[in-house]
C-alpha cells in the first residue's frame, strides 16, 4: 500500500531514479523498535549497515514519500533508509 503503483489515466508517471525499494533484514526489539541490519535492492548486492546514526520520522524530499528515516553508515557512505508503513526504500 505504501508506494502506490497506481495507473493514472492519461498520465505517464516518470520513473523515479531517486527511490530504490529494498529488502531488509532487521531485529525487532522487545520494545517494538525495529533495528535494520542489512538491506538489498531487487537487483543488487546486499549492504551491511555498520551503524545507525539517527532514527526519526521524516519526509523523503528527493525520493518522495515519508516514514521512519534511519540514517545509516554503510562502509564510507551515509544512507537514508526509510520505513514507510510496510515498505522500505533508500534515497539515492
Amino acid at each position: 500500500m505504501a508506494e502506490r503503483h497506481r495507473s493514472i489515466e492519461g498520465v505517464v508517471l516518470e520513473p523515479n531514479q531517486h527511490k530504490v525499494f529494498v529488502k531488509v533484514r532487521a531485529d525487532h526489539e522487545l520494545d517494538g523498535m525495529i533495528r535494520p541490519l542489512m538491506f538489498r535492492p531487487e537487483d543488487g548486492a546486499a549492504a551491511k549497515i555498520d551503524r545507525i546514526l539517527e532514527i526519526k520520522r521524516a519526509a523523503a524530499t528527493k525520493a518522495g514519500g515519508q516514514g521512519i528515516r534511519y540514517t545509516c553508515r554503510v562502509g564510507n557512505n551515509q544512507i537514508y533508509l526509510f520505513h514507510d508503513r510496510d515498505i522500505w526504500f533508500i534515497e539515492v
Binding site: E9, A59, T61, G64, Q66
Partner: protein, 419 residues
C-alpha cells in the same frame, strides 16, 4: 488569564499527501478526485497551482476540470493514506497538549492554555509544529493562534500555505473584522444572504451589529454569530482521549430506494435496530427510551418516542418498539425516504436488573447471550457473516451497514454552545 488555542489546517490536504509521494509533480496542476465510475466524479482537493492558475474549484465535476486544464493530473482518492497522515499530524500535535480536537481529517484545534500563558508563546509553539509537520510528513499547514476556537480557525485561513497567523484581541478591528462575514465558521450562503439584507458584510459589522436586529433576522443563531465575531466563543477544545459521556445512541439511513410499504419499513427498522443495539453493547450500555424519526419523500420530518418497561440492548426489543411506534403513529407517511432510531435514558449494562414474575426473563437472558455471540462473529468475520432473515426480503437493503458508514465527520461546535 486568557486561553491559547491553535487551529492547525493542512493545506490542500489530499493533494499534498499525494504530492509528498510524487515530488516531481509539485509545480504542476494536481487534483484528487472522487471515484469516476461510482458517479462521485468531482474534484475533492486541488493544489494551489490548479486552483489559482487554472481556476479549478473544489466540488467541480472532473470532466469540467479537465476541460479547463487538459494537463491536470487527477489522482483517485486514497483514504487509508490520508487517514495515516492525519493520524501522524495528530501525534505531533499531541506532544504539545492532550487537548486536541479534530474537525474532519485535516483540521485540529489544540488548546495550550493548561501550561502556556501568552499568545507569544503560543506562536512559538505553532511555528515549531508547522516546521515539524513539514519536515516529518512533507506537507504544509497553516496555523491560527488566538484565545478562542473561532478566531483561531479564522487565523488559519488568513495566510496560506505554510504560515502562522496570530489574532490578538486588540488587533481585531484591523485584521479579523475586515474579512467578509462568510469567512466566519457557520456563516454559509443562506446566512450570508440574510446578513447582507441587514447591511452586515464584514465580520466587524457582525460584531458591532445590534443584538436585537440579529435575533430578529437569524434567531438565536444570530446572537451566537455575534458572540463568535466578537471573539468571545467560549466553547472548549474537547479532550478527545476522555470518552464523552454518551447520552443517546442512534442511527439513521436514507434507504437505497424509497420505502413504500410496511414490509420495507420493517426491514430497515431491523437493520437500524441491529446497529444501534450493537453500539449499545459495544459501549456497555442499556437504554430505556426508543425514539423513531421518519422523513417522507416530500422531506417532511416527524419524530416520536416511547419508554420501555426495561432497559435493553436487544435488537428485537428496540426494533419491535420502533416498528410499533411507526404503525401506530405514522402509517400514513409512506412512502419514506429515511428512518432513524435512537435509544436514550442510558444506564450501564452492569446495573442490576429487576427480574419479573410474569415475563420470561430466562429467554431474555438467552437472547442477550445470542446477540453477544453474533457481535463476536461479526467482529471476527465481518458484518455480512450473520444476517437476519428479514433483510433478505430485499437484497438492496441488505447491503446497508449503518454501523460502518459515515465514520469521518466533524463534530459540530453548536452542541457545545447550545447548552
Amino acid at each position: 488569564m486568557g486561553r491559547v488555542i491553535l487551529h492547525c489546517d493542512a493545506n490542500s490536504f489530499y493533494a499534498s499527501c499525494e504530492l509528498c509521494y510524487k515530488p516531481w509533480l509539485k509545480d504542476k496542476p494536481v487534483a484528487v478526485g472522487g471515484d469516476q465510475e461510482a458517479r462521485h466524479g468531482i474534484v475533492l482537493t486541488a493544489n494551489p497551482i490548479a486552483k489559482k492558475k487554472y481556476g479549478i474549484k473544489t466540488g467541480e465535476v472532473l470532466w469540467e476540470a479537465r476541460q479547463k486544464c487538459p494537463q491536470l493530473t487527477i489522482f483517485p482518492a486514497d483514504y487509508p493514506l490520508y487517514v495515516h497522515f492525519s493520524r501522524m499530524m495528530r501525534e505531533i500535535e499531541e506532544e504539545y497538549s492532550d487537548q486536541v480536537e479534530a474537525f474532519g481529517l485535516d483540521e485540529n484545534w489544540i488548546d495550550l492554555s493548561a501550561w502556556n500563558q501568552t499568545l507569544d508563546q503560543g506562536e512559538k509553539i505553532a511555528q515549531e509544529i508547522r516546521t515539524r509537520i513539514k519536515d516529518e510528513l512533507g506537507i504544509t499547514v497553516s496555523i491560527g493562534v488566538a484565545d478562542n476556537k473561532i478566531m483561531a480557525k479564522l487565523g488559519s485561513d488568513m495566510k496560506k500555505p505554510d504560515a502562522v497567523t496570530v489574532l490578538r484581541r486588540e488587533n481585531y478591528p484591523t485584521t479579523a473584522w475586515q474579512l467578509p462575514a462568510s469567512d466566519l465558521l457557520y456563516v454559509g450562503p443562506a446566512t450570508k444572504r440574510k446578513l447582507k439584507l441587514i447591511g452586515v458584510n464584514t465580520i466587524g459589522d457582525l460584531a458591532l451589529c445590534d443584538a436585537r436586529i440579529l435575533h430578529e433576522t437569524l434567531g438565536k443563531n444570530g446572537l451566537m454569530l455575534k458572540v463568535f465575531a466578537m471573539g468571545n466563543d467560549p466553547s472548549p477544545v474537547r479532550r478527545i482521549n476522555v470518552e464523552t459521556a454518551i447520552k443517546s445512541v442512534g442511527n439513521s439511513v436514507t434507504a437505497p430506494r424509497d420505502m413504500e410499504d410496511f414490509d420495507d419499513v420493517k426491514c430497515v427498522i431491523y437493520l437500524l435496530a441491529e446497529s444501534v443495539a450493537a453500539r449499545l453493547r459495544e459501549h456497555g450500555l442499556r437504554g430505556r427510551c426508543v425514539s423513531l424519526s421518519v422523513r417522507s419523500t416530500e422531506l417532511v420530518f416527524n419524530g416520536c418516542q416511547r419508554t420501555l418497561k426495561k432497559a435493553t440492548y436487544l435488537t428485537s426489543e428496540i426494533a419491535e418498539a420502533a416498528y410499533d411506534l411507526f404503525v401506530t403513529r405514522y402509517p400514513d407517511r409512506l412512502p419514506l425516504r429515511s428512518i432513524g432510531i435512537s435509544v436514550s435514558r442510558l444506564s450501564p449494562d452492569t446495573d442490576p436488573v429487576q427480574i419479573s414474575m410474569f415475563d420470561d426473563d430466562g429467554r431474555r437472558f438467552r437472547m442477550e447471550e445470542l446477540e453477544h455471540s453474533v457481535d463476536d462473529l461479526r467482529r471476527r468475520f465481518g458484518h455480512q457473516i450473520v444476517q437476519r432473515g428479514i433483510v433478505y426480503y430485499d437484497r438492496k437493503f441488505a447491503d446497508v451497514n449503518p454501523k460502518e458508514v459515515n465514520t469521518i465527520h466533524p463534530i459540530s461546535a453548536f452542541s457545545a454552545i447550545g447548552r
